[in-house]
Symmetry: C2
Protein backbone atom coordinates (compact mmCIF):
# COMPACT_ATOMS: atom_id res chain seq x y z
CA UNK A 1 0.00 0.00 0.00
CA UNK A 2 1.47 3.32 -1.04
CA UNK A 3 1.37 6.61 0.80
CA UNK A 4 -0.07 9.43 -1.34
CA UNK A 5 0.79 13.10 -1.02
CA UNK A 6 -0.70 15.82 -3.22
CA UNK A 7 1.11 19.02 -4.26
CA UNK A 8 -0.69 20.89 -1.47
CA UNK A 9 0.16 18.28 1.17
CA UNK A 10 3.83 18.41 0.14
CA UNK A 11 3.75 22.24 0.31
CA UNK A 12 2.29 22.10 3.81
CA UNK A 13 5.03 19.85 5.24
CA UNK A 14 7.48 21.40 7.70
CA UNK A 15 10.67 22.68 6.10
CA UNK A 16 13.12 19.88 6.95
CA UNK A 17 10.85 16.87 6.35
CA UNK A 18 9.88 18.50 3.04
CA UNK A 19 13.48 19.13 1.99
CA UNK A 20 14.54 15.60 2.99
CA UNK A 21 11.61 14.02 1.15
CA UNK A 22 11.90 16.13 -2.02
CA UNK A 23 15.63 15.43 -2.26
CA UNK A 24 14.95 11.66 -2.41
CA UNK A 25 12.07 11.41 -4.87
CA UNK A 26 14.11 11.53 -8.09
CA UNK A 27 16.58 8.87 -6.90
CA UNK A 28 20.34 8.89 -6.47
CA UNK A 29 22.45 11.91 -7.43
CA UNK A 30 26.09 12.35 -8.39
CA UNK A 31 28.68 13.39 -5.77
CA UNK A 32 31.22 15.94 -6.98
CA UNK A 33 33.44 18.59 -5.44
CA UNK A 34 33.67 21.87 -7.37
CA UNK A 35 37.00 23.66 -6.93
CA UNK A 36 37.58 27.36 -7.70
CA UNK A 37 40.08 30.14 -6.95
CA UNK A 38 39.19 33.83 -6.80
CA UNK A 39 41.21 36.54 -8.52
CA UNK A 40 43.20 37.17 -5.29
CA UNK A 41 44.24 33.50 -5.15
CA UNK A 42 41.92 32.28 -2.35
CA UNK A 43 40.58 28.80 -3.08
CA UNK A 44 37.11 27.40 -2.51
CA UNK A 45 35.75 23.86 -2.56
CA UNK A 46 32.09 22.79 -2.31
CA UNK A 47 30.15 19.54 -2.59
CA UNK A 48 27.44 19.41 -5.29
CA UNK A 49 24.85 16.71 -5.95
CA UNK A 50 23.54 18.27 -9.17
CA UNK A 51 26.40 17.90 -11.66
CA UNK A 52 25.10 16.13 -14.80
CA UNK A 53 26.27 15.19 -18.27
CA UNK A 54 24.79 17.54 -20.90
CA UNK A 55 26.51 16.53 -24.13
CA UNK A 56 29.47 14.70 -25.65
CA UNK A 57 30.15 16.78 -28.81
CA UNK A 58 31.06 19.27 -27.49
CA UNK A 59 31.62 17.86 -24.02
CA UNK A 60 29.34 19.87 -21.72
CA UNK A 61 28.12 19.49 -18.15
CA UNK A 62 25.59 21.40 -16.06
CA UNK A 63 24.80 21.91 -12.39
CA UNK A 64 22.28 23.97 -10.43
CA UNK A 65 22.67 26.61 -7.75
CA UNK A 66 19.97 27.73 -5.37
CA UNK A 67 19.29 31.51 -5.26
CA UNK A 68 21.13 32.10 -1.94
CA UNK A 69 23.36 29.26 -0.79
CA UNK A 70 26.77 28.47 0.63
CA UNK A 71 27.82 27.93 -2.96
CA UNK A 72 27.82 31.67 -3.72
CA UNK A 73 31.63 31.87 -3.55
CA UNK A 74 31.85 29.07 -6.06
CA UNK A 75 29.66 30.93 -8.55
CA UNK A 76 31.33 34.32 -7.98
CA UNK A 77 34.72 32.72 -8.59
CA UNK A 78 33.48 30.99 -11.74
CA UNK A 79 32.05 34.24 -13.13
CA UNK A 80 35.17 36.28 -12.38
CA UNK A 81 37.84 33.75 -13.41
CA UNK A 82 35.89 31.57 -15.94
CA UNK A 83 37.37 28.28 -14.67
CA UNK A 84 36.39 25.55 -12.22
CA UNK A 85 37.12 21.91 -11.57
CA UNK A 86 34.73 18.99 -10.98
CA UNK A 87 36.16 16.14 -8.90
CA UNK A 88 34.34 12.87 -8.23
CA UNK A 89 33.93 11.85 -4.58
CA UNK A 90 35.05 8.31 -3.64
CA UNK A 91 34.25 6.26 -0.56
CA UNK A 92 37.52 7.26 1.19
CA UNK A 93 36.72 11.00 1.33
CA UNK A 94 32.99 11.24 2.08
CA UNK A 95 33.45 12.95 5.48
CA UNK A 96 35.84 15.49 3.99
CA UNK A 97 33.49 16.06 1.05
CA UNK A 98 30.48 16.59 3.33
CA UNK A 99 32.44 19.01 5.53
CA UNK A 100 32.87 21.41 2.56
CA UNK A 101 29.12 22.14 2.85
CA UNK A 102 29.67 24.04 6.12
CA UNK A 103 29.47 27.86 6.05
CA UNK A 104 33.13 28.72 6.35
CA UNK A 105 34.24 32.35 6.38
CA UNK A 106 35.57 33.59 3.06
CA UNK A 107 39.15 33.70 4.41
CA UNK A 108 39.08 29.95 5.11
CA UNK A 109 39.74 27.52 2.25
CA UNK A 110 37.53 24.41 2.39
CA UNK A 111 40.52 22.45 1.09
CA UNK A 112 42.43 23.12 4.32
CA UNK A 113 39.41 23.00 6.60
CA UNK A 114 38.13 19.68 5.27
CA UNK A 115 41.56 18.08 4.83
CA UNK A 116 41.73 17.77 1.04
CA UNK A 117 44.67 18.66 -1.19
CA UNK A 118 44.85 21.35 -3.88
CA UNK A 119 46.45 20.14 -7.09
CA UNK A 120 47.49 22.37 -10.00
CA UNK A 121 48.35 21.12 -13.48
CA UNK A 122 48.51 22.06 -17.17
CA UNK A 123 48.57 25.76 -16.18
CA UNK A 124 44.86 25.39 -15.35
CA UNK A 125 43.78 28.25 -13.05
CA UNK A 126 41.37 26.38 -10.77
CA UNK A 127 42.50 23.81 -8.18
CA UNK A 128 41.78 20.09 -8.64
CA UNK A 129 41.26 17.75 -5.67
CA UNK A 130 44.33 15.50 -5.61
CA UNK A 131 42.42 12.70 -3.84
CA UNK A 132 39.87 12.34 -6.68
CA UNK A 133 40.25 9.55 -9.25
CA UNK A 134 38.31 11.48 -11.95
CA UNK A 135 38.88 15.20 -12.41
CA UNK A 136 37.44 17.68 -14.92
CA UNK A 137 38.93 21.08 -15.72
CA UNK A 138 35.98 23.15 -16.95
CA UNK A 139 35.50 26.51 -18.61
CA UNK A 140 32.40 28.53 -17.81
CA UNK A 141 29.99 28.70 -20.77
CA UNK A 142 26.62 30.13 -19.74
CA UNK A 143 23.95 30.47 -17.03
CA UNK A 144 20.24 29.89 -17.50
CA UNK A 145 18.08 31.44 -14.81
CA UNK A 146 15.16 29.16 -13.92
CA UNK A 147 12.43 31.75 -13.50
CA UNK A 148 10.10 29.31 -11.68
CA UNK A 149 12.22 29.34 -8.49
CA UNK A 150 15.22 31.58 -9.12
CA UNK A 151 17.70 28.70 -9.36
CA UNK A 152 20.61 28.99 -11.77
CA UNK A 153 21.58 26.30 -14.25
CA UNK A 154 25.30 26.68 -14.95
CA UNK A 155 26.85 25.19 -18.11
CA UNK A 156 30.53 24.29 -18.34
CA UNK A 157 32.73 22.87 -21.13
CA UNK A 158 35.25 20.14 -20.28
CA UNK A 159 38.70 21.45 -21.29
CA UNK A 160 40.77 18.81 -19.48
CA UNK A 161 39.89 15.34 -18.27
CA UNK A 162 42.09 13.29 -15.92
CA UNK A 163 41.35 9.78 -14.71
CA UNK A 164 43.19 6.81 -13.26
CA UNK A 165 44.12 4.77 -16.32
CA UNK A 166 43.15 1.35 -14.89
CA UNK A 167 39.47 2.31 -14.50
CA UNK A 168 38.72 2.64 -18.26
CA UNK A 169 37.05 -0.28 -20.05
CA UNK A 170 37.87 -1.19 -23.67
CA UNK A 171 34.82 0.67 -25.00
CA UNK A 172 35.70 4.03 -23.43
CA UNK A 173 33.40 3.70 -20.40
CA UNK A 174 34.88 4.50 -16.96
CA UNK A 175 34.35 1.71 -14.46
CA UNK A 176 33.24 3.79 -11.48
CA UNK A 177 33.30 0.75 -9.19
CA UNK A 178 37.10 0.63 -9.61
CA UNK A 179 37.19 4.34 -8.72
CA UNK A 180 34.96 3.70 -5.65
CA UNK A 181 32.81 6.64 -6.78
CA UNK A 182 29.86 7.28 -4.47
CA UNK A 183 26.42 8.76 -5.05
CA UNK A 184 24.13 10.81 -2.81
CA UNK A 185 20.56 10.32 -1.64
CA UNK A 186 18.78 13.31 -0.18
CA UNK A 187 21.17 15.87 1.26
CA UNK A 188 23.30 13.74 3.52
CA UNK A 189 23.43 10.04 2.60
CA UNK A 190 26.48 8.73 0.77
CA UNK A 191 26.17 5.33 -0.91
CA UNK A 192 28.54 3.07 -2.83
CA UNK A 193 27.00 1.51 -5.96
CA UNK A 194 27.67 -2.11 -6.84
CA UNK A 195 27.25 -2.87 -10.58
CA UNK A 196 24.41 -5.28 -11.44
CA UNK A 197 24.89 -5.46 -15.23
CA UNK A 198 25.75 -3.63 -18.42
CA UNK A 199 23.35 -4.10 -21.34
CA UNK A 200 23.71 -4.06 -25.12
CA UNK A 201 22.00 -1.32 -27.14
CA UNK A 202 18.25 -2.03 -26.85
CA UNK A 203 16.36 -3.23 -29.95
CA UNK A 204 12.56 -3.53 -30.36
CA UNK A 205 12.17 -7.25 -31.02
CA UNK A 206 15.15 -8.66 -29.12
CA UNK A 207 15.49 -9.51 -25.47
CA UNK A 208 17.91 -7.25 -23.60
CA UNK A 209 21.37 -8.87 -23.50
CA UNK A 210 24.26 -8.38 -21.11
CA UNK A 211 27.24 -6.59 -22.61
CA UNK A 212 30.33 -8.77 -22.75
CA UNK A 213 33.41 -6.67 -23.33
CA UNK A 214 36.22 -8.09 -25.46
CA UNK B 1 49.41 8.02 -12.84
CA UNK B 2 46.44 9.66 -14.51
CA UNK B 3 45.53 9.69 -18.18
CA UNK B 4 45.03 13.24 -19.52
CA UNK B 5 42.75 14.20 -22.39
CA UNK B 6 42.30 17.76 -23.63
CA UNK B 7 39.10 19.18 -25.12
CA UNK B 8 40.51 18.58 -28.62
CA UNK B 9 41.54 15.00 -27.85
CA UNK B 10 38.06 14.27 -26.49
CA UNK B 11 36.48 15.83 -29.61
CA UNK B 12 38.66 13.64 -31.85
CA UNK B 13 37.62 10.35 -30.24
CA UNK B 14 35.40 8.02 -32.26
CA UNK B 15 31.69 8.43 -31.59
CA UNK B 16 31.01 5.48 -29.29
CA UNK B 17 34.15 5.62 -27.11
CA UNK B 18 33.49 9.36 -26.76
CA UNK B 19 29.84 8.90 -25.78
CA UNK B 20 30.71 6.11 -23.34
CA UNK B 21 33.49 8.15 -21.73
CA UNK B 22 31.56 11.42 -21.52
CA UNK B 23 28.57 9.68 -19.94
CA UNK B 24 30.78 8.45 -17.06
CA UNK B 25 32.79 11.54 -16.14
CA UNK B 26 30.19 13.24 -13.92
CA UNK B 27 29.52 10.05 -11.91
CA UNK B 28 26.34 8.09 -11.28
CA UNK B 29 22.96 9.24 -12.59
CA UNK B 30 19.38 8.58 -11.52
CA UNK B 31 17.32 5.85 -13.20
CA UNK B 32 13.71 6.79 -13.92
CA UNK B 33 10.98 5.75 -16.35
CA UNK B 34 8.88 8.59 -17.77
CA UNK B 35 5.32 7.57 -18.64
CA UNK B 36 3.03 9.52 -20.96
CA UNK B 37 -0.18 9.06 -22.98
CA UNK B 38 -1.00 10.93 -26.17
CA UNK B 39 -4.36 12.57 -26.85
CA UNK B 40 -5.55 9.42 -28.71
CA UNK B 41 -4.83 7.27 -25.65
CA UNK B 42 -1.61 5.55 -26.83
CA UNK B 43 0.90 5.20 -24.00
CA UNK B 44 4.67 5.66 -24.06
CA UNK B 45 7.39 4.77 -21.56
CA UNK B 46 11.07 5.70 -21.75
CA UNK B 47 14.11 5.37 -19.50
CA UNK B 48 15.87 8.62 -18.52
CA UNK B 49 19.14 9.10 -16.63
CA UNK B 50 18.82 12.89 -16.35
CA UNK B 51 15.90 13.42 -13.95
CA UNK B 52 17.04 15.70 -11.09
CA UNK B 53 15.61 17.51 -8.10
CA UNK B 54 15.23 21.24 -8.81
CA UNK B 55 13.41 22.61 -5.76
CA UNK B 56 11.29 21.71 -2.74
CA UNK B 57 9.02 24.80 -2.42
CA UNK B 58 7.44 24.45 -4.91
CA UNK B 59 8.42 20.86 -5.64
CA UNK B 60 10.07 20.91 -9.07
CA UNK B 61 12.16 18.49 -11.10
CA UNK B 62 14.02 18.77 -14.39
CA UNK B 63 15.36 16.45 -17.08
CA UNK B 64 17.11 16.91 -20.42
CA UNK B 65 16.25 15.78 -23.93
CA UNK B 66 18.67 15.57 -26.82
CA UNK B 67 17.63 17.42 -30.00
CA UNK B 68 16.56 14.24 -31.91
CA UNK B 69 16.17 11.15 -29.77
CA UNK B 70 13.92 8.19 -29.12
CA UNK B 71 12.36 10.35 -26.43
CA UNK B 72 10.56 12.52 -28.97
CA UNK B 73 7.20 10.82 -28.31
CA UNK B 74 7.65 11.50 -24.61
CA UNK B 75 8.12 15.21 -25.20
CA UNK B 76 5.33 15.50 -27.78
CA UNK B 77 2.94 13.81 -25.36
CA UNK B 78 4.03 16.08 -22.51
CA UNK B 79 3.51 19.22 -24.62
CA UNK B 80 0.09 18.14 -25.90
CA UNK B 81 -1.38 16.68 -22.68
CA UNK B 82 0.67 18.59 -20.01
CA UNK B 83 1.12 15.51 -17.79
CA UNK B 84 3.77 12.82 -17.27
CA UNK B 85 4.87 10.40 -14.59
CA UNK B 86 8.35 9.72 -13.19
CA UNK B 87 8.86 6.21 -11.79
CA UNK B 88 12.04 5.06 -10.03
CA UNK B 89 13.73 1.93 -11.40
CA UNK B 90 14.55 -0.83 -8.89
CA UNK B 91 16.87 -3.80 -9.23
CA UNK B 92 14.02 -6.16 -10.20
CA UNK B 93 13.11 -4.30 -13.42
CA UNK B 94 16.42 -3.16 -14.93
CA UNK B 95 16.09 -5.30 -18.10
CA UNK B 96 12.54 -4.09 -18.69
CA UNK B 97 13.62 -0.49 -18.03
CA UNK B 98 16.55 -0.74 -20.47
CA UNK B 99 14.31 -2.25 -23.15
CA UNK B 100 12.17 0.92 -23.25
CA UNK B 101 15.17 2.66 -24.89
CA UNK B 102 14.64 0.69 -28.12
CA UNK B 103 13.13 2.48 -31.12
CA UNK B 104 9.65 1.01 -31.10
CA UNK B 105 7.10 2.07 -33.71
CA UNK B 106 4.61 4.64 -32.48
CA UNK B 107 1.80 2.05 -32.47
CA UNK B 108 3.67 -0.09 -29.93
CA UNK B 109 3.48 0.82 -26.23
CA UNK B 110 6.77 0.32 -24.41
CA UNK B 111 4.73 -0.81 -21.38
CA UNK B 112 3.56 -3.90 -23.29
CA UNK B 113 6.78 -4.42 -25.23
CA UNK B 114 9.02 -4.25 -22.15
CA UNK B 115 6.65 -6.10 -19.83
CA UNK B 116 5.73 -3.34 -17.38
CA UNK B 117 2.25 -2.48 -16.11
CA UNK B 118 0.27 0.72 -16.66
CA UNK B 119 -1.35 2.04 -13.49
CA UNK B 120 -3.93 4.84 -13.34
CA UNK B 121 -4.98 6.65 -10.18
CA UNK B 122 -6.41 9.89 -8.78
CA UNK B 123 -7.83 10.70 -12.24
CA UNK B 124 -4.27 11.51 -13.32
CA UNK B 125 -4.03 11.41 -17.13
CA UNK B 126 -0.57 9.86 -17.55
CA UNK B 127 0.19 6.21 -16.71
CA UNK B 128 2.33 5.27 -13.70
CA UNK B 129 4.53 2.14 -13.67
CA UNK B 130 2.88 -0.23 -11.19
CA UNK B 131 6.17 -2.02 -10.45
CA UNK B 132 7.86 1.18 -9.17
CA UNK B 133 8.14 1.84 -5.42
CA UNK B 134 8.32 5.65 -5.87
CA UNK B 135 6.08 7.39 -8.40
CA UNK B 136 5.64 11.07 -9.27
CA UNK B 137 2.66 12.52 -11.14
CA UNK B 138 4.03 15.68 -12.78
CA UNK B 139 2.57 18.66 -14.60
CA UNK B 140 4.57 20.27 -17.39
CA UNK B 141 5.87 23.72 -16.42
CA UNK B 142 8.41 25.00 -18.95
CA UNK B 143 11.22 24.18 -21.39
CA UNK B 144 14.58 25.93 -21.55
CA UNK B 145 16.41 25.43 -24.83
CA UNK B 146 20.15 25.02 -24.24
CA UNK B 147 21.50 27.01 -27.17
CA UNK B 148 25.02 25.55 -26.86
CA UNK B 149 23.93 22.13 -28.18
CA UNK B 150 20.20 22.25 -28.86
CA UNK B 151 19.25 20.12 -25.85
CA UNK B 152 16.03 20.87 -24.02
CA UNK B 153 15.78 21.24 -20.25
CA UNK B 154 12.22 20.33 -19.26
CA UNK B 155 10.77 21.48 -15.92
CA UNK B 156 7.90 19.67 -14.19
CA UNK B 157 5.96 20.27 -10.97
CA UNK B 158 5.17 17.32 -8.70
CA UNK B 159 1.36 17.17 -8.33
CA UNK B 160 1.17 13.68 -6.78
CA UNK B 161 3.75 11.61 -4.93
CA UNK B 162 3.30 7.90 -4.14
CA UNK B 163 5.77 5.76 -2.24
CA UNK B 164 5.84 2.52 -0.29
CA UNK B 165 5.18 3.62 3.28
CA UNK B 166 7.85 1.44 4.91
CA UNK B 167 10.72 3.16 3.07
CA UNK B 168 10.33 6.59 4.75
CA UNK B 169 12.62 7.46 7.67
CA UNK B 170 11.43 9.55 10.63
CA UNK B 171 12.96 12.76 9.21
CA UNK B 172 11.09 12.58 5.88
CA UNK B 173 13.95 11.07 3.86
CA UNK B 174 13.15 8.07 1.64
CA UNK B 175 15.42 5.10 2.28
CA UNK B 176 16.20 4.16 -1.31
CA UNK B 177 18.04 1.00 -0.20
CA UNK B 178 14.69 -0.37 1.05
CA UNK B 179 13.20 0.50 -2.36
CA UNK B 180 16.15 -1.23 -4.14
CA UNK B 181 16.46 1.88 -6.33
CA UNK B 182 19.28 1.63 -8.85
CA UNK B 183 21.48 4.25 -10.51
CA UNK B 184 23.10 4.39 -13.96
CA UNK B 185 26.69 4.82 -15.09
CA UNK B 186 27.27 5.75 -18.71
CA UNK B 187 24.42 4.67 -20.97
CA UNK B 188 24.06 1.02 -20.06
CA UNK B 189 25.36 0.09 -16.59
CA UNK B 190 22.83 -0.37 -13.80
CA UNK B 191 24.19 -0.38 -10.24
CA UNK B 192 22.67 -0.90 -6.78
CA UNK B 193 23.92 1.55 -4.15
CA UNK B 194 24.72 0.39 -0.63
CA UNK B 195 24.54 3.19 1.98
CA UNK B 196 27.83 4.06 3.68
CA UNK B 197 26.59 6.74 6.09
CA UNK B 198 24.27 9.68 6.69
CA UNK B 199 25.85 12.81 8.12
CA UNK B 200 24.62 15.66 10.32
CA UNK B 201 24.41 19.18 8.89
CA UNK B 202 28.04 20.29 8.39
CA UNK B 203 29.45 23.04 10.65
CA UNK B 204 32.77 24.89 10.21
CA UNK B 205 34.58 23.96 13.43
CA UNK B 206 33.07 20.55 14.16
CA UNK B 207 34.04 17.15 12.84
CA UNK B 208 31.40 15.62 10.58
CA UNK B 209 29.14 13.33 12.63
CA UNK B 210 27.00 10.38 11.58
CA UNK B 211 23.27 11.04 11.75
CA UNK B 212 21.52 8.85 14.29
CA UNK B 213 17.78 8.89 13.70
CA UNK B 214 15.45 8.74 16.68
Amino acid sequence: MKKHLTHEEINNLDRFPKVNLMNSVTGYKSANLIGTKNSEGATNLAIFNSVCHLGSSPSLIHFTLRPHTVARHTYENILSTKYFTVNQVHSGIIKQAHHTAASFEESVSEFTAAGLTEEYKTDFYAPFVRESAIQLGCEYVNTYKIKENGCLLVIGAIKHLYFDEHIQDSDGFLNLEKAATVCINGLDEYALPKPLDRFEYARPNEAVKSKILK
